[in-house]
């Protein structure tokens, strides 16, 4: 089992990537009760934007910025001008919105296919993040360590931001009691759009970060969105800390299954989703017992 450390590191790295994606999804669900299946679309958009930027300017850092900003703006618009007005019409909203965002996911994949074709693109690892380091007896790519570091910093930053800042407390407040927060004079509509946009932006960054490891292709968002859903469900919908643990579980389970028992590769994370959904719908770490 000499390669075990390698697989574990890869699992953690995948977990960090999934966390970057899942955090937006889980906060949006907690806040707005919207199961945003289009999250994968923003991941795809981010990846393509990052690819284009990196090719035009050669700067990976700029690619990260553009990969955040474009999905942020699109997410903001989607929430503010499409999803929110539908919520106001008082339909059986959470199902409608899940189906609507499901459509967006496919429409974006189709648009990307139309513009870029169905070929695979790859983004080169920037020179300052290339090479390997010796870690636990394996030569491990620096870039993957960067992904782990990025995910960890983001996780701590977000947990700190949500638990220790005014904006964070407003968001958490709105998760618990939307009306009360609105009564305090906060523009909930704007808050929702910003949070949705930020989630989309993070998904976009996730796309850029994933680009050098997994390739960039039109269906990338559709593949990843289900894994992200698993993370969100395992961690408990709306639970940021939970989704970090969930992301690590899913990342490790996926990677180890792929390495040691490839027959189960496609199976493991769905089985996890199924079991948690059936037996612990509040998530493994759900404390509030939020009913969905």
């Amino acid at each position: 089992m000499q390669s075990l450390p390698l697989h574990v590191l890869n699992g953690i790295q995948l977990g960090c990537l999934l966390f970057i994606l899942a955090v937006g999804l889980t906060v949006v669900f907690g806040l707005m009760d919207t199961l945003n299946l289009s999250h994968g679309a923003f991941y795809t958009i981010g990846a393509y934007m990052g690819y284009l930027t990196a090719h035009a300017t050669g700067s990976f850092l700029l690619a990260l910025v553009v990969g955040f900003v474009v999905p942020f703006v699109l997410g903001f618009i989607t929430q503010r001008y499409l999803l929110y007005p539908l919520t106001l019409r008082g339909r059986s909203t959470h199902l409608d919105l899940a189906l609507l965002t499901f459509g967006i996911l496919f429409a974006v994949a189709g648009t990307v296919e139309m513009l870029f074709g169905s070929s695979f693109y790859s983004l080169a690892v920037p020179s300052y993040l290339s090479g390997t380091v010796d870690l636990f007896g394996v030569a491990y790519p620096v870039y993957r360590l960067f992904v782990i570091a990025f995910g960890s910093v983001l996780a701590f930053g977000l947990v700190w931001g949500l638990e220790r800042t005014v904006l964070g407390s407003v968001i958490r407040g709105a998760v618990e009691h939307r009306e009360m927060v609105a009564a305090l004079g906060i523009d909930v509509r704007l808050l929702f759009a910003i949070v949705f946009g930020a989630g989309a932006g993070l998904a976009g960054i996730g796309g850029v970060i994933a680009a050098p490891i997994l390739s960039v292709y039109s269906h990338m968002g559709m593949t990843v969105v289900v894994s992200t859903l698993v993370v969100v469900v395992v961690g408990g919908l709306g639970n940021v800390r939970g989704s970090l643990v969930g992301a690590l579980i899913v990342g490790l389970a996926d990677t180890l299954a792929q390495a040691y028992y490839s027959e189960a590769e496609l199976f493991v994370s769905y089985a996890l989703l199924f079991l948690v959904m059936v037996f612990r719908p509040q998530g493994l770490f759900g404390v509030t017992g939020r009913a969905i």
Binding site: L35, L82, L86, R91, S92, H94, L95, D96, A98, L99, L100, F102, G103, I104, L105, F106, A107, V108, A109, G110, T111, E113, M114, V226, L229, V230, V233, E263, A264, E265, L266, F267, Y270, A271, L273, F274, M277, V278, F279, P281, A291, I292
Partner: protein, 327 residues
């Protein structure tokens, strides 16, 4: 959970509009029966595709329209139907007269167990859990070598109508076969939805707690709806596999499930003829657009967004509103 359809569109609704419905139904039936004699081969292909899609949507409508449970994993049972015929006929060498009932029995058993597990989740949770389940089935189908893995299986046999002096390889005969099965299923579904069992399902859709308070075993009814819906999906899968002589894991993809949901919503969830209208419109639009653009996904996605945003009651929802307004 809230119902997926507007409360005034109930499944057992035709009472006021029954004459109009009957006329519409008779008109459609006449059209469908005369179809093979006037139309080209190409039109027959489309017609058969519509029927196969309609069968799936009819099954799904029991879950979405009548009971108010939105599943995003029903294509799993379409795939199971196809694989069932494939395995019993191509691998085990059983005749269709044994293979098809056996397949449907197995599907009913699988659906019963998975229904029992899935209905523990409510609302969006149900959507997620059915999605997870179908993805598991998809994963198994992709990895099972004896059924061809991700390539799928070929050599699915069609029924033999030699004793009627007809060849099933004639597209007209296959169309008639698909039409016969579709009509039989529609009749069955009509009986089910207008039965006391169907009324309980509508009750669950409208107000689950009240039905439970009235003493109905809500869970058992939901499992029943799930099973009936799944068996019908499997029938659709069988005919689809026979039509293409082929079955592969893609028939279980969540995109396929999404298509089913889309067809139900386009047609009008909860209406008996809704799935037929929905699948007709969907298949025709898809065909028409495939001549103009290759971007199937884009069309599918935009179609989905537009229908959910503007046409939530579906075509028949709009139609019955117009009828009511004219009264």
């Amino acid at each position: 959970m809230k119902a997926a359809v507007a409360p005034h569109l109930s499944a057992t609704r035709p009472a006021d509009n029954s004459r109009r419905y009957r006329n519409l139904l008779l008109g459609l039936l006449a059209g469908a029966l005369l179809f093979p004699f006037f139309w080209t081969q190409y039109a027959l292909t489309i017609g058969t595709e519509v029927l196969v899609a309609a069968l799936f949507a009819i099954g799904l409508n029991i879950l979405i329209g009548t009971t108010g449970l939105v599943s995003l994993g029903s294509s799993m049972f379409v795939g199971l139907g196809g694989y069932g015929v494939g395995v019993t006929a191509a691998l085990m060498g059983l005749p269709l007269t044994v293979g098809v009932p056996l397949t449907l029995l197995v599907v009913a058993a699988v659906a019963g167990v998975s229904g029992f597990l899935c209905i523990r989740a409510k609302g969006v949770g149900f959507l997620l859990v059915t999605l997870a389940l179908s993805q598991m089935a998809y994963g198994i189908a992709t990895k099972t070598k004896s059924t061809g893995g991700s390539d799928g299986m070929t050599g699915i046999p069609r029924p033999d109508f030699g004793w009627l002096g007809l060849s099933i390889d004639d597209p007209r005969v296959f169309y008639a076969y698909a039409l016969f099965v579709t009509l039989a299923v529609m009749l069955l579904v009509w009986r089910i939805t207008t039965s006391p069992f169907g009324s309980v399902l509508v009750g669950i859709r409208e107000n689950e707690r009240r039905m439970a308070a009235l003493g109905y075993n809500v869970d058992a009814y939901k499992i029943g709806a799930f099973t009936v819906s799944s068996v019908i999906a499997a029938i659709s899968g069988i005919i689809q596999a026979q039509y293409t002589y082929f079955v592969n894991p893609e028939s279980m993809s969540w995109q396929a499930s999404g298509e089913g949901v889309l067809m139900v919503i386009i047609g009008g969830a909860g209406h008996l003829l809704g799935p037929l209208a929905g699948s007709g419109i969907y298949v025709l639009v898809k065909q028409a657009l495939s001549g103009i653009t290759e971007e199937y996904l884009l069309v599918f996605g935009i179609f989905f967004v537009l229908v959910v945003t503007f046409l939530r009651g579906g075509v028949l929802g709009v139609l019955s509103k117009t009828w009511e307004a004219r009264k």
